[in-house]
Amino acid sequence: MNIFEDKVAVVTGAGGTMGRAVVDTLVSQGCRVAMVDVRAESMQPAAAQYGARVMAVACDIRDAAAVESAHRRIADAWAPVAILVNNAGVLTNAKIEATTSDSWREVMSVNAEAPMVWSRCVVPGMKAARWGRIVNVGSLASKTGGLTAGTAYAVSKGAITALTLSLARELAPHGVTANAVAPAYVRTPMVTEALTEAQRQALLQQIPVGRFCEPEEFAHVVAFLASPLSGFITGEVVDLNGGLHMD
């Protein structure tokens, strides 16, 4: 089904579990997807499966020049980017006393600065087309301070919320929407599989629906926010947490 009419999407962190789920969903709905990940080998399975519908772009998104170069390569090869999914992220569970300045900078660089740089790259093309969708990945941690997640992570996701609002305000007159998904405890090696069994059981008791979020459920929300169904929604953070937090 070609909902997205061959639009060009960029998905960062595409080689991870959540990123791969987003790639699968967007490709299945008619996008051409530029997969961006620092680990080239992590994108090979999707590249082999989808062939010309995807493009694997190895890129260290902490490096603004590398991002700009990657963006040029995608736009030159295909077309201006219509959908940007700022999915890449690093998680640290270090609380304040264990947070080093180096780890703080690393987390902020990947989780907060890179989405800004990617947005800066794609906005001119979206404005020219008078259509664009930016979907950022926030987190429940930005609202709770992090149940198991660390200080730097929670702050970086708070920055994502503010970035989303800024982009929404600035880009709405140009037909570009900016929204975020704030998931909690998606079943991935980076998140739930890194918890101790005691933490997992304690969390499952706290989550009203009694289970963790499946990567595909996360991808569905991203697809919704990128789709024509959500054209009047901007500046919104969609909470995807099984009822764990309702504000």
Binding site: S28, A172, G175, G242
Partner: protein
Amino acid sequence: MPTPQSFSLTGRVAFVPGGYGDIGRAVAWQLACAGASVAVAGRDAAKAERLAAELTQAGHAALGLAMDVRDTAQIRSGTERVSEHFGALDLLVNCVGMQREERLAEVTEAAFDEIVQINLRAAMFLAQAAARWQIAAVKAGRAPGRQIHVLSVRAQLGMRDRGYSAYCATKGGLVMLIKQHAVELCNHGITVNGIAPTVVRGEMGAHWLADPQVRERLLQRIPLGRVAEPEDVAGPIQFLCSDAASFITGQVIYLDGGITATQ
């Protein structure tokens, strides 16, 4: 509007009270086109039946029925009729709502009570009546249902220089009703969420758009630079009704062209 296959509602039964208003009508068509059987209800039987006939003529399964949501007995008999007719009631989409503008100093008990009755009390008992069928269906092995309420950005924002006490209070109350019902129904896998639009083109929003100065001021405050069309509201409701949204519960999605985000 084509929609992703994962948002399909094939085999589901939707109950749309307030279903022949501008928003309700768009919702009924959206859900029907996504594959759901749709029951439309409201005080005016002829309007409900006319819309159902239009849907049926287009090849969809539809039912129109009279129901006055001020009467809880009618709510219960309405849900019963839907369940008996279609064999289930999976999706409740509550599009019922009203407003009578009165400034604080002039608010009357009669108007305040009427708005509470329509906007909040009816939501409570619609949710209860639907939940009884939905819980029984889950116990019988059917996929969990969904409850969606249509709110307003006035659930969160007061209205400057206007008489909106009852409207804002009842829409704000709906937010808490959604949260409470979400936690009460989560053990059954049933989700409860809301959609909060700003001014939507149609009968209820007409007074905002009729005056050019008011319309201009309104458009200046909406970052996307336009008012919502009923179809803008219907799309997200389809998403929340679908299996794709099964991990979202107790939430209200603001559908307002960026108003809330930029206050």
